[in-house]
């Protein structure tokens, strides 16, 4: 991956997390199990091990996904709208 592409991938993860699109940031679908969530988190943390901003964003996504209730998740997903 070129540096430009890597930077773009980093920024995309950060933006996805900022928008609370956690599943997309971690490359998961909305029905992912907890074990799949933690696995995706570790995989991405390893790939972005040098980038503190990405690690902080991934951590935020993981924390939010693992601590939210079913109702919270429903609310989060319902608030989200498609761009444009």
């Amino acid at each position: 991956m070129s540096d430009d592409n890597r930077d773009a991938a980093d920024e995309l993860i950060i933006k996805m997390v900022e928008a609370e699109r956690y599943e997309e940031a971690l490359g998961l679908d909305h029905s992912a199990s907890r074990r799949e969530t933690t696995a995706a988190f570790i995989r991405l943390s390893a790939r972005h091990s040098g980038q503190d901003r990405v690690l902080i964003a991934l951590n935020k996504a993981r924390n939010a996904m693992l601590s939210e209730t079913g109702e919270d998740k429903e609310l989060r997903l319902s608030v989200f709208k498609s761009p444009g």
Partner: protein, 643 residues
């Protein structure tokens, strides 16, 4: 490959290893030979009566019974603690050497006329390890200077306890020093061995600390990568506490045991430790003391350790829950540390896992240790894992930190904790909070920084009990700006697990940064409750704002009208409020409402943001118009309106 040391700096014993190749990790030989329990460098330093250093390691340990006040050991239990905290935890009474209160409530160890910090004792141990590793006669395979090392640290140690250990390593001559959590180091060594995806629970019971960590190994392309998911434990629970429990049990049972002097106490405790080790294999052991012989059976040992075994429950339950997994997700349990040789310790761990619903295969692995032994050497795997990390063979992709950090906020309802960094986060991590101070003439503002962690001894899934430790009150000299002082507090936990707190006066370049060594109080503070519910931190709110901004083109007329109604409801709520910040907020919100009433859809997103900011203002403790729960409900209403 440039060789680097991996060091397991233990409370009672230390060991070191070097990864000379990916598959070959070699233990460092000590000039004084292996200690009886399998580690090469006992963490003991012997002094002469004038305070000069005599020996480090095996010889120092052997001299303990003869001169207990001149042998300093167990210092890992003291490092990074304030004197008061050590006093409160009973650590100052544990050892026969003198411990004094130093400047700034620090700990000083007095031997003769000399005084030593705990860090300087660790420095002596680390220097000994470094010198022996570099000694070609002892370790001919290495033949090099070691300028770099990775030191294992108890996973459950708070950030403020790590910094003095790193300082000690640098003072000992290491130019570059990294850290790794002890259970993670062990799991990395084991992970290389099993070489497949797995969730591993490591139960690491050392002489001074208990760490329970959940680590997951996942496939990423052709590689396996691993990461910590959660850690829990006790900062002060280990083999030393077991020795004390067995000693007290025996004293209560055998009235003939008289421990009149420090020397008697040291000798008897030494016998207790040896018998505890013998009972790992035998059904009964004999203690020789003052010409008498006392018998101790396995059943008696279990009875003596009963209260300690019960304390395993909290950390095991917490680690699995906070990792976000179920016990049935665990594929392997890895037992580390000398006390896991004791059968009743293994049975206690097995019981808790069975209660939680761990799979039969996992329980069977624990049972199999009796016949087949441990899958990795529980005394060596930590230093070996540290060596693998030092050599870059395998590195954890994520590392967790058990405690959270926040500030204390006072209001008419009492003192509350306002979180900035959530507990059980991964580091590096940062968090910020912006605070308003009501006195515009103040020249100094101060914040009280607090660490929050779940109390493992009072674990309850439905209602966890938290401990709040005071890290200190930190101040910033501010300049008048003609307005209320607004100060930003930024907290950061670095990759080295070092905590830094930066206070900045907003709108100026005035700031001050405090780093871990300064953050050294450990007093337990009493707070009413959390000032906020989880997930309502500043970053969550920022994320919601970003969402409103992004979606501005998708707003409908109905959404706009509902937003305006909500804004008007809030304006009505504060119409009699005279607080200056509220009046300023009202002006901003009224302007946003006007924008939308001009039927400009693009202004709707701005209005939603203004409402959100206004709500944030209303919930500030010094303003106190709405409570956290109301704030949360308003935020939900806002989210529904914009759906």
């Amino acid at each position: 490959m440039r060789l680097k040391l991996g060091i397991d700096l233990g409370t009672y014993n230390s060991s070191a290893a070097v990864a000379v190749q990916r598959d070959t990790v070699v233990m460092v030989t000590s000039k004084e030979g292996k200690s009886p329990d399998g580690k090469n460098f006992p963490s003991f330093v012997q002094f002469a009566s004038n305070g000069s250093k005599v020996s480090v390691g095996v010889r120092a340990k052997r001299s303990l019974a003869l001169n207990p006040s001149l042998v300093v050991w167990g210092v890992k239990r003291l490092v990074g603690l304030s004197f008061q905290a050590a006093l409160d935890r009973g650590e100052t009474k544990r050892f026969q050497y003198d411990i004094e209160r130093g400047p700034g409530d620090t700990i000083l160890i007095r031997v003769g006329n000399e005084r030593f910090t705990p860090s300087s004792i660790l420095e002596a141990i680390l220097r000994e390890i470094k010198e022996d590793a570099e000694n070609q006669d002892l370790n001919p395979l290495f033949g090099t200077r070691f300028d770099e090392a990775v030191i294992s640290i108890p996973a459950y140690y708070k950030a403020i306890r790590t910094a003095p250990i790193l300082d000690a390593a640098r003072q000992a001559g290491f130019k570059e020093v990294g850290t790794i959590a002890e259970p993670t180091a062990a799991a990395l060594k084991y992970g290389l061995q099993i070489d497949r995806e797995a969730v591993i629970l490591t139960f690491d019971l050392g002489a001074g600390t208990l760490d329970v960590t959940v680590l997951q190994i996942v496939q990423d392309g052709d590689n396996l990568v691993s990461g910590e998911l959660c850690t829990s434990g006790h900062e002060a629970l280990g083999g030393l506490d077991m020795d004390i429990a067995v000693r007290d049990f025996l004293i209560a049972k055998h009235k003939e045991i008289a421990l009149a002097t420090d020397k008697d106490r040291a000798l008897f405790l030494d016998e207790v430790e040896k018998s505890k080790i013998r009972l790992s294999k035998a059904q009964a052991a004999k203690l020789l003391f003052a010409n008498s012989e006392i018998s101790l059976t396995r059943d008696e040992l279990e009875e003596a350790l009963g209260d300690i075994l019960k304390r395993f429950r909290g950390p095991i339950h917490m680690a699995i829950k906070e990792a976000g997994l179920e016990a049935s997700d665990i594929d392997h349990v890895l037992l580390v540390g000398g006390p896991t040789h004791i059968p009743c310790v293994r049975q206690a761990i097995r019981r808790e896992l069975a209660l939680l619903g761990a799979r039969h295969q996992v329980l069977a692995e624990i049972d199999a240790i009796d016949q087949r032994g441990f899958p990795v050497n529980p005394m060596e795997c930590v230093s070996q894992g540290a060596a693998l990390k030092a050599a870059g063979v395998i590195t954890p992709a994520s590392t967790s930190i058990a405690e959270g950090y926040g500030i204390v906020i006072g209001s008419d309802r009492g003192r509350h904790y306002d979180p900035i960094i959530k507990e059980n986060s991964m580091y590096p991590i940062e968090g910020k909070v912006s605070l308003g101070f009501t006195d515009p003439n103040a020249r100094t503002v101060a914040l009280e920084l607090v660490a929050k962690s779940a109390d493992p001894d009072k674990y309850s899934e439905s209602k966890p009990v938290f401990r709040y430790e005071h890290l200190g009150q930190y101040s910033l000299s501010v300049v008048p700006t003609g307005d209320l002082h607004s100060v930003e507090l930024a907290l950061c936990v670095s990759r080295d697990k070092a905590l830094a707190a930066t206070l900045t006066q907003e709108g100026t370049d005035i700031h001050v940064t405090y780093k871990s060594p300064d953050l050294l109080k450990n007093d337990i503070v009493q707070l009413l409750d959390d000032g906020n519910t989880p997930n309502l931190d500043a970053t969550t709110i920022e994320a919601m704002s970003a969402k409103f901004d992004r979606d501005r083109s998708a707003w409908t007329r109905k959404e706009m009208e509902d937003c305006v109604l909500m804004a008007r409801r809030l304006l009505e709520l504060v119409k009699s409020c005279t607080h200056q910040r509220i009046r300023e907020g009202v002006k901003v919100l009224q302007m946003s409402v006007s924008g939308v009433s001009d039927n400009n859809p693009e202004e709707a997103a701005k209005l939603a943001n203004s409402i959100r900011e206004f709500l944030d203002l209303l919930r500030q403790p010094e303003i106190g118009v709405i409570k956290t729960e109301e704030f949360r409900q308003y935020l939900k209403d806002l989210a529904r309106i914009t759906n």
